[in-house]
Amino acid sequence: MGTGTGIGRVRGLGSSGVGGAHWATERMISLATLPLFVWFVVSLLRLPDMSHTTVVNWLSSPFNAVLMVLLIATTFVHLKQGMQVVLDDYVHDEGTRVLSNVALVFLSVAGGAAAIFAVLQIAFRGTAN
């Protein structure tokens, strides 16, 4: 950290230590979630019911399965990025902040992986038995 210019003194500060790239990718990723969620909500509302057969048949379509995988990937990245900002802002103890961020990455990757695997399992298995 420099002591001379204003930018030198503040570089690397802020609650997370970094920020510019995070801020930009957060906006890019959430832009992708927007049309995906409109599609998701409209698709669910158009289903005749929410029974197992109906939902499995819906997810068996390659088109729906691919869009669901994209929705899950972008949403869980967005979830991780958003929650990271909340943790960086409100968890003041440095050790707890780092540990909670590690837990956040583990949980969001695990949740996203489980959801994507479930969609692929349904899609590759085909229509309901």
Partner: protein, 130 residues
């Protein structure tokens, strides 16, 4: 990291007078946290249950269609709609537009009221059709 507790703190929630602009801002964060925890958990459960089989899926459906499940479902719908509206509002603010006091106030109210209108429309459709 050493923290100098004598340093002045920036004003926070307890200091500001509540207005629609700050309400939208903090609610965007609150709904985001709610969706990240409750929404993501319910979403993963729904998909994993569907992949596991009819029996696992039906036990998800039993919880989801109980009165508590529907209450959580309505709450999550509102949170999703609000967070989407708040997100779109932030895109406009990010390009440097909409900071005039009157404009900011108007779009904040539209985000809040719109979130309730869209949520009500979605659930009226669900309960009306099914």
């Amino acid at each position: 990291m050493h923290r100098n507790t004598a340093r002045p703190l920036s004003p926070h929630l307890t200091i500001w007078r509540w207005g629609p602009h700050m309400a939208v801002s903090i609610l965007n964060r609150v709904t985001g946290v709610g969706l990240s925890i409750v929404g993501a958990a319910g979403f993963v459960w729904w998909l994993v249950a569907a992949a596991t089989g009819a029996e696992a899926y039906n036990s998800f459906l039993d919880v989801a269609t109980s009165w508590l499940g529907i209450l959580v479902g309505v709450g999550l719908t509102w949170a999703l709609v609000f967070h989407t509206g708040g997100g779109i509002r932030h895109y406009v603010l990010d390009i440097g537009a909409g900071y005039e006091l009157r404009t900011n106030r108007r779009w904040s109210w539209i985000t809040i009221i719109g979130s309730f209108v869209v949520t009500a429309a979605i659930w009226a459709y669900i309960l009306g059709v099914k």
